[in-house]
């Protein structure tokens, strides 16, 4: 195997060298088998189940479900929410990364910790905080009600919960990347007479674009797939405040399994597209993305 060729020093002592820095053939095959079995059981089978169950009654019924107006409304809402939440967190992520990666200031570590906060909060709690803030029992509740502003059980609430949950994604990718790149490129541009914005557009942005895309990809996958937080604030109004993941839940709880899995198929395809693009980015621009992976 190629593995042994690496350790083969060209002399006749191959076996001795291999034993020293690698495992025996048996142990290697055992570990590979164990790892592959685990991946098959926990990752491949669930994915296969989604597609198989959706096609259980043939492609005809699958397509009928997908052309249902409620499904259509759920798809539109999911795209709308992601379409608002991702750009907002993109702008925030770039701003946060610019401040944190390019400057030295007090409280930087604390700020970074705060940005990561949503990762350690349960999605249900992420929804709950907005219910407490805007619900009819809250301080803001009566004011919102008297002015006819609907936040909970409406699109603004879903957007807020999604923004909360996907808050750290872009910043997290960009901060280590921009820290590693340092500030010398920008300093050169400035000393040659570029303005601040020009420096950002023509120097910084091209340097970080693939890492940025990577962060947006992950942010978008989470925004479209978020369930817990959105479920708490949405109110589950069919055709109005149901995103695709919520639609999956409703159909499943009605024992309408084929329909539930048909909608789930779309989300699974989204996940697969995300993974493919992610792998492509990692392969082609590994040196850019590796920076964020090491931290």
């Amino acid at each position: 195997m190629a593995h042994e060729a690496v350790s083969n020093t060209g002399s006749g002592n191959t076996e001795l060298v291999r034993v020293a820095t690698s495992e025996s053939r048996l142990a290697r095959y055992g570990l590979i088998g164990l790892a592959l079995g685990f991946v098959a059981l926990f990752l491949v089978l669930p994915l296969a189940a989604v597609f198989t169950e959706a096609m259980r009654n043939g492609p005809g019924e699958f397509l009928t479900v997908l052309s249902d107006p409620e499904t259509f409304a759920a798809i539109r809402l999911t795209l709308l929410v992601a379409g608002i939440a991702v750009p907002l967190n993109l702008v925030f992520g770039i701003a946060a990364a610019w401040a944190i990666a390019k400057f030295e200031f007090r409280g930087k570590a604390f700020l970074t910790t705060l940005i990561d906060l949503p990762f350690s909060v349960s999605p249900v709690i992420s929804g709950l905080v907005f219910v407490l803030l805007f619900g009819s029992h809250s301080l803001a509740g009566p004011f919102l009600q008297s002015h006819g502003i609907q936040i909970l059980f409406a699109v603004p609430g879903i957007v807020l919960a999604t923004v909360f949950v996907t808050f750290p994604f872009v910043a997290r990718e960009l901060i280590p990347l921009m820290q590693e790149q340092g500030t010398s490129d920008e300093e050169a541009a400035l000393s040659l007479g570029a303005s601040g914005w020009q420096t950002f557009w023509y120097v910084t942005l091209p340097n970080i674009k693939w890492g940025l895309l990577y962060g947006v990809l992950l942010c978008n996958a989470r925004a479209m797939g978020e369930f817990g937080a959105v479920s708490v604030v949405s109110g589950h109004i069919r055709g109005l405040t149901n995103t695709m993941p919520l639609q999956v839940e409703i159909l499943y709880n009605e024992y309408n399994f084929v329909a539930a899995f048909a909608v789930a198929t779309l989300l699974a395809l989204l996940a697969l597209v995300t993974l493919v693009l992610k792998s492509l980015l990692e392969m082609k621009y590994s040196e850019q993305i590796a920076a964020s992976r090491r931290h």
Binding site: V131, L267, R294
Partner: protein, 285 residues
């Protein structure tokens, strides 16, 4: 610069780059609006309950069982993920086999697949009449609709956290370390146990902490497979949702506050252990 005396306290070091004020301003505004105000709302609402009410709500037997189930299953799942995650990372870093690229990409599936989809898929597999469940039920093994089902769902969600934190550190290990161990007479098992694993400890611990924290709060993938029997297989996030649907905001707030406090305390402890073990051993720290 040297001509001037440096001020005693300085908020930031001087820099020729522009835009610090704007960038920090946007960051802080967004952070305060989206994260800090909502979270402090939760803190304010739970402190407004008063200590006696809070304690009563938090020590309700159903709440305690739900918390115990959430933290217990998350712990079990994180431990499973540490074992298999490290093996998987090792296999991906050290060995060559057909389809390795694909396996590597698949590891991120739980990050990309919406949790509700994972939930119904795992339930389909492990329900008593499901693909795998039907093979196990003649043996008397039930996975779905038991706490074991919750562990299975959490293993799915947590796996990439361990693999992705351990993998890059494993790639950095110098072969010389292992060669040195071997020359000094260690067999392969000793080298792995005494030389490689201690160095990986901080990364493994980080992966464990991330998987654990994610598992404690996980909702979407769990509720389908758990069976959601109160006192037995009802997780804390679900109990929050149930209390909200009953318009019992104080109870929902109290459970959320307890969950956050325990999670933060555990993360703090893990951070301290990590700092210690990074000083003691540690690659790439």
């Amino acid at each position: 610069m040297s001509a001037r005396t440096a001020p005693l306290w300085q908020f930031r070091q001087p820099s020729v780059l522009p835009g610090f004020g704007l960038a920090l301003g946007v960051t802080l505004t967004w952070l305060v609006l989206i994260i800090l105000i909502p979270l402090s709302g939760l803190a304010w609402r739970s402190s407004a309950l008063g200590w006696a009410t809070f304690l009563e709500l938090a020590t309700d037997q159903r709440t305690i069982n739900a918390l115990r189930i959430s933290f217990g299953t998350a712990l079990a799942a994180a431990l499973v993920n540490v074992v298999f995650g490290v093996i998987l990372a090792w296999v991906l870093v050290r060995y060559r086999f057909p389809g390795k690229r694909l396996v590597d990409a698949m590891v991120d599936l739980p990050f990309a697949l919406p949790t509700a989809v994972a939930g119904i898929a795992l339930t389909t597999l492990y329900a008593p009449n499901g693909w795998i469940g039907s093979l196990l039920s003649p043996l008397g093994i039930k996975i779905a609709f038991t706490p074991l089902g919750i562990v299975f769902a959490l293993v799915f969600v947590g796996l990439p956290f361990v693999v992705r934190t351990v993998q890059p550190i494993m790639e950095e290990i110098d072969k010389e370390v292992e060669e040195a161990a071997a020359t000094l007479g260690a067999n392969r098992f000793q080298t792995i146990r005494r030389v490689l694993l201690p160095g990986l400890a901080p990364a493994v611990l980080t992966g464990f902490a991330l998987a654990f924290a994610r598992g404690v709060g996980e909702y979407g993938s769990v509720i389908f497979i758990a069976g959601n029997l109160p006192y037995v297989s009802e997780i804390a996030p679900l109990l929050i949702v149930i209390r909200l649907e009953e318009f019992n905001y104080p109870a929902a707030t109290a459970i959320a506050a307890v969950m956050l406090m325990i999670s933060f305390a555990m993360l703090l402890i893990i951070n301290m252990i990590q700092a210690w073990s990074r000083r003691r051993y540690g690659y790439g720290a």
